[in-house]
């Protein structure tokens, strides 16, 4: 997929490179004991991926004038949480998926016990990284950032959304129920990415709330587009097993709304995300680019 804005593409490539280096640095070395666990952690995280959440951290950080080195720590923390959730999600007792980012999933490449422990250790590492680096002027703000990430990862957020997802297999959810599930399952960590990035810098009154509105829009748009891609794209393009949700009888935006209306809704969310960024002017150009990227990859 190509993006119309070459400046945004350059920015994205530069941040992705910086994030890859930071992730590789923050992960335990593969030759340090217990080597198999550390290898599995590195395999889970360094296997590619678009790094959407780290990009959101950096873009929100730019909008808040944050120092670049702080953003690397926050970006690693959210990506470790994301990576751990994928590893656990792919396990036989959950989605039982064998393919992720075009490669065998962690429990296929290693074994189930190692995959579970690697996920567990990645969650700990997220908080360790966020606590070890100085990422806020006032340490009380850093404590609040740690709380924010923990809440987004736990039962009020991502883990809770997964649980609702599990319970929903074979059931028909209403649109508000589906929305609540996704707000928790994907939206909470996307929102945390934006807020952590912003809190690495300084914002004027009301700006954090505006970014929160933006984050909520793109969090939902992200899931709507995921459902569209899952329904339409072949497995080789997707890098993971396609059509899985529908096959498992999981409700999706496409099954509830149909493709055309799902696309319309994603576009509306993109426009709402842009509207929330109006007060930021030039400072928010990367956030705008990301909203476009998230939605337009489906068209």
């Amino acid at each position: 997929m190509t993006h119309p804005n070459p400046e945004f593409q350059r920015w994205t490539a530069a941040v992705q490179a910086e994030v890859e280096a930071a992730l590789a640095r923050e992960l335990p070395a593969a030759d340090r004991a217990p080597a198999r666990l550390h290898e599995a952690m590195r395999y889970a995280v360094l296997g590619g991926g678009k790094r959407v959440r780290p990009l959101l951290v950096y873009a929100a950080g730019e909008a808040a004038g944050a120092a670049r080195e702080r953003l690397a720590a926050a970006a690693c923390a959210v990506e470790f949480i994301h990576a751990y959730s994928l590893v656990h999600d792919d396990l036989p007792c959950m989605d039982n998926d064998v393919l992720r980012r075009g490669r065998p999933t962690v429990h296929v490449q290693y074994d189930e016990a190692t995959a579970m422990l690697a996920g567990d250790a990645l969650q700990s590492l997220a908080f360790e990284v966020l606590a070890r680096h100085r990422i806020a002027d006032d340490p009380a703000d850093q404590v609040e950032m740690l709380r924010l990430l923990a809440q987004a990862a736990g039962s009020p957020g991502m883990a809770g959304g997964q649980a609702i997802d599990l319970e929903s297999v074979g059931k028909s959810l209403s649109l508000p129920e589906l929305e609540l599930m996704h707000i928790m399952k994907t939206g909470a960590l996307i929102r945390a990415s934006v807020l952590l990035g912003a809190r690495c810098g300084t914002l004027a009154n009301g700006e954090l709330e505006a970014l929160d509105r933006y984050a909520k829009c793109i969090g939902l748009a992200f899931q709507v587009v995921d459902d569209i891609l899952d329904a339409e794209a072949p497995t080789e393009t997707l890098g993971k097993t396609a059509g899985k949700d529908a096959a498992q009888g999981k409700p999706t935006y496409v099954s509830l709304l149909g493709i055309a209306q799902a696309r319309e809704w994603a576009e509306r969310l993109r426009q709402d995300a842009h509207a929330a960024l109006a007060p930021f002017g030039e400072r928010a150009s990367q956030l705008r680019g990301l909203a476009d990227f998230i939605v337009l990859r489906s068209f």
Copy 2:
């Protein structure tokens, strides 16, 4: 088992009651959605247990003159980490255990996916609780406490110890290798309990290092005694499947040293723990009681 010191028994009962109430308060309500996940989290944590780690938090807190309400938050955090590790440890892909504290394990009572998510969410909750309450005068100290817990839980600590344990099945470990595994697997969180309790209060120069020495001794003693109990006690007394480690071909202190020498070593560690507490005088009486409790339960 009875303990010779009635004052210590009264203190233990009072702290256990306070901790039970705090755990029940900090856990998500069982009727809040996703209810099944929240029920499983409560089942995993509120199923009894001696609350050794919370007791260590309170005892170390007393030695450091800490405010009681701070200790409740730190005690909940370490107990949530401990409880999550038991839930994941009991899963079929790990120890495949069906009995814990005399009741069906979480994946037996619920299902594997719910058990995995409940463990994941308990880990997040540990950090959330530790970040949400004000537990240090200086927020920078609180960030350090969060880092400490994350490190103790992750691959340099508990999760790493589990991974070494997995790799050790059917192998013969040397005594130093077995010790390193246990220092990570159980010792790291016991040490974190003592250090977090202490950091809720104020210590003089050198006192934190003394508590660290104490923590290392009782962490090892705890595992040596666990191996003795596992080798000797019947399943009904233990509340979990007895003789499991030996049956799985896992190396234990008993298999390496024999019962008599394992007991001697536990006793030596108890005395070293007492020696480390010498500078504290009366302030450390509960820490002394806990060292005795941990070792004497095997005699």
